[in-house]
Symmetry: D2
Subunit: 325 residues, 4 copies
């Protein structure tokens, strides 16, 4: 299923080294101002323009082909695509014999019986997060009252991570990180008891981002170590504000009006230039693998805007679902 | 949305203190042997029969009213309900003025404009995990080749938790815990790149269980602190087996044939007999709250069989989806 | 898929000769008054209490087991079931060798590999229209402003059909009919251009009723014989009212504020006591079949309230979907 | 909702006078040979290349931008778009004051609060049937064993329609028609008892085609005039073949292995050059309207290949759904 959402509904397509990647967005209300410039800021934030990100540079211009008329949404489905221009597909032929550890090469080949586009991870590429960011821009426009902001908490286990990042790049290795996302000015009542709890919907979408291995809401895994008397957030006002926010803004799967807070674990980039041993599936020998290509040393660095996009998409959809009743 | 699944599809209903709780299951193949005895073992495992669980005892007999003929599934939807017999609704009247911290009382009242059944958390109750377990029994019957097993890793931060559990019960307080779930003999290829990654589907369903605040796959949050050279799982055989299993059996959102492993954080029960301060929404005064009623001191203790059920439901559905292509 | 609807969503279960038939309704707004008496009128209209209907009499009391508290909807899923009391299952054993012409016996046996509950057509029975009617009662309560009314246009090709009906009953034969359904006070804007046109949604649900073989909107098949200059409905007021209503209240898949009008063709009951020749699948001989059992001579007679229910369900859902944007 | 299908799932986008129209297809199995030439025949059949069709000529080249690698499907979503080149948007400005009778101008303006792209009916245009035809080509490749063929039964009420067609064109008027679609070599068991009967799924998709006002299966509305003894199809062989096929190949919503047969009513094109009276919504006067533009005198002429496409899409999806169990 390449679609997500009940009313504000996105469908995604494209491959890393194909003609383009894109997103089709259904359920956008009519009359929202939308120009290609609106995408600039978030697309720029996702770009690999920092130490530790890939040298592959793409223009990433959003081509909007439908659903817009006189710079406003029409209510019809919005299709946006981004051309792939800076592709070097010859980089990837080796994965047929030597699927890269940590990547989808092996599972994709088995799932799709060898017919998958393996170049640059194909449809599994992190490049597909670009259309997610584009959908996020539109989602944010639907819920201007909510402030969503994601920030890097740590990279490679360090809050002050510049030294370790440079050292790891020099080693040809990669790093993971932890990102926290917060949404302020949350309405009360988003989410369903079963099965579309707010945590369910957010985690569903977040785990579609390549490289995410964990998510926790509020104090999350720390909650498992506490007592109820410490973990319960006591109410301090009749609008539901609580003295603490261990729940991360969600009770019983429903937003409670306090800030929505969650953190995700991003694994270190699977592609590393450092030599790693792995199996050659053809020769059936263990051999040394050096991944040349171009890749991020730390995909977590580009993750905040993607998390914000996913959060906005879920909130926009669930606000619409709530309006329906 | 009270439904989950694409082909093997469950819908859940009922309230803690209503007539019954139940589940309607669609998409079950015809010809699977199914009797009420088949539910006994898992229902018993969910029962509050241990130190730290609620004194509310229910018979929990599965009444199957459709979809079964001559003790075999017919292919038509299966409805199963469980009567609520041992209810003491008067326990819960106070929540109207004093919504219990950590519970859904406040959000439910706001979301449903005061019309929600607030008795024992109503539709938000942990009792709704009983129909989930029942659906899990049927899901497991659909995928007998996969061995799913969940176990408690720690309670209140302790692996050896009996002392802390007894101490906390004596204090009238509650504890959280961490549970790990493993599925062995996994097929390769379950899950979709976007948006139905295996992590997406599992987390979606798992976060519908009351009390879950975090989930991580493989080495999860630990991965965020490692380097790629440490975290990548190198292949050791052409069936995709890897030397390590940091990925928890999933690459690119797709099962890779290694064991599926995930852990969840269960918060401490929100209901505690220990005095806690919170707002009386009527008087607008902070006051002392002692929750009498009957409740678990640690819902994590009853969680393993529920996690197994959810895992089985997702795997059964995704195996069917894969067969479709 | 035993579910229908995006927001107001119904799931159906049960068999003709099982314990019960029922419906699970999700997405009902909280605070709607609902008692078992509210179902009486429509359930009575569906009952076989006229010449040409089956002698099987059921109490048809709606048991509401969830989603209601203090006689009001809570916003949680509503489960309603009807017990089957007056069943004579021995009537149906013969269908294993001699699937009844016109019935689902053959296809059900093949689709479900012989495990289907064949008694009284099992899950394929017209008795399943009872939970549809119940869901329709709740749907109607959601859209009190819209007046939905279905009426019999003809039975066996006759507007004045009492003579032909009596004659056909005497012959042990059965009759079909045409029913027209109208919804007045329609809002403008229900339906989607692709793929959920109002015609799409209505026809989808209507064709789930056993025995429907055709549907037409407005002047329907007659439109195919006309010219545009005759068929176009010219506007006469700025609220979209038209001089004629050949479109049946729908343009481009969207309601235009004029009355919604459609007609359905109901086939003659497949069960007839009159001798018919058909194949015995065991002996592979053509033999004479007399269907004893109890059956309607004309299911069209009981159809109006079922069509109204389906129309109300679709309109309630689509009005909610529209509110979402 | 711009999507249709459970497994083989299509989403459609674009406007008549926008940049392009397109379709995104999910759930296509990997390894199916697919080149742009494969679309030629069906796209040509849809083209306005006959007496009575529009002079707007488009190249209609299928640009496939994803999901294909080495001329084979990869299992990833397939995006196909068609550029709009031959557009004359100035033709359509008048519809703002004078919504065209029979068209979606009025409802679209109301539903989308005036923000809809009204040029050439925008997203409501018959041009959107082009991506449907493209999706149909891929669907047909998935079910090569089934032969689907649609043919014109009558135009303007005439089987031999060339004279009336020429006469009507000369008058600046338009004609409707009736098309019959047949699928041979049908498998037994497609469809669900509730709610996804085969009739439900086919009618759902068919009614998304602009201009369809009725559908009937087998003998359809004629069945309503017959007796059960005449209408029942008696079995003649153990593979379910029947002596007659009044049911149109469907019993109880499930395909029975006989030919699937249905007919649709296509209304006369709403755009006519002949003068028609209608309301000017600005002046609130009834005035004479002559629609210049370019339009078909009879859209039914281009309909057969579109019906085939829709039938193939539904059958491909339902065959996949059946495989899932």
């Amino acid at each position: 299923m390449n679609s997500f959402g009940q009313i504000f509904r996105i469908s995604i397509y494209g491959e890393s080294h194909g003609k383009s990647v894109g997103v089709l967005i259904d359920g956008v209300p009519a009359g929202i101002s939308l120009k290609s410039e609106d995408f600039e800021k978030d697309i720029l934030r996702r770009k690999p323009n920092k130490t530790g990100t890939t040298p592959r540079i793409e223009e990433d211009f959003p081509n909007i082909t439908s659903g817009i008329f006189n710079d406003k949404t029409t209510g019809a489905p919005i299709n946006i695509y981004f051309e792939n221009k800076n592709t070097k597909s010859s980089d990837y032929d080796f994965v047929l014999q030597t699927p890269r550890p940590g990547h989808a090469d092996f599972v994709a080949s088995r799932k799709y019986k060898g017919f998958n586009d393996y170049r640059g991870s194909g449809h599994f590429s992190g490049r597909l997060s670009l259309p997610l960011v584009a959908a996020g821009v539109i989602a944010k426009k639907n819920i201007p009252e909510i402030e969503i902001e994601a920030e890097i908490l740590e990279i490679g286990g360090e809050k002050d991570y510049s030294s370790i990042l440079e050292k790891t790049i020099a080693e040809g290795d990669s790093l993971g990180g932890i990102i926290e996302c917060t949404a302020k000015n949350m309405p009360i009542g988003l989410g369903e008891p079963f099965f579309n709890s707010l945590e369910s919907m957010i985690s569903h979408l977040i785990f579609s981002i390549p490289g995410i291995k964990g998510i926790e809401f509020g104090n999350g895994f720390e909650a498992a170590k506490t007592k109820g008397s410490e973990n319960n957030d006591r109410y301090i006002s009749t609008d539901g504000k609580t003295a603490t926010n261990n729940a991360g803004g969600i009770n019983g799967g429903i937003s409670n009006g306090n800030d929505l807070i969650f953190r995700v674990a991003v694994k270190p980039t699977s592609s590393i230039s450092k030599t790693q041993e792995t199996l050659n599936f053809q020769t059936k020998e263990i051999e040394n693998l050096n991944i040349e290509g171009r890749h991020d040393a730390c995909i977590a660095l580009r993750m905040p805007v993607i998390l914000e996009a996913c959060t906005a998409i879920v909130l926009a959809d669930m606000i619409m679902v709530n309006k329906a009743r």
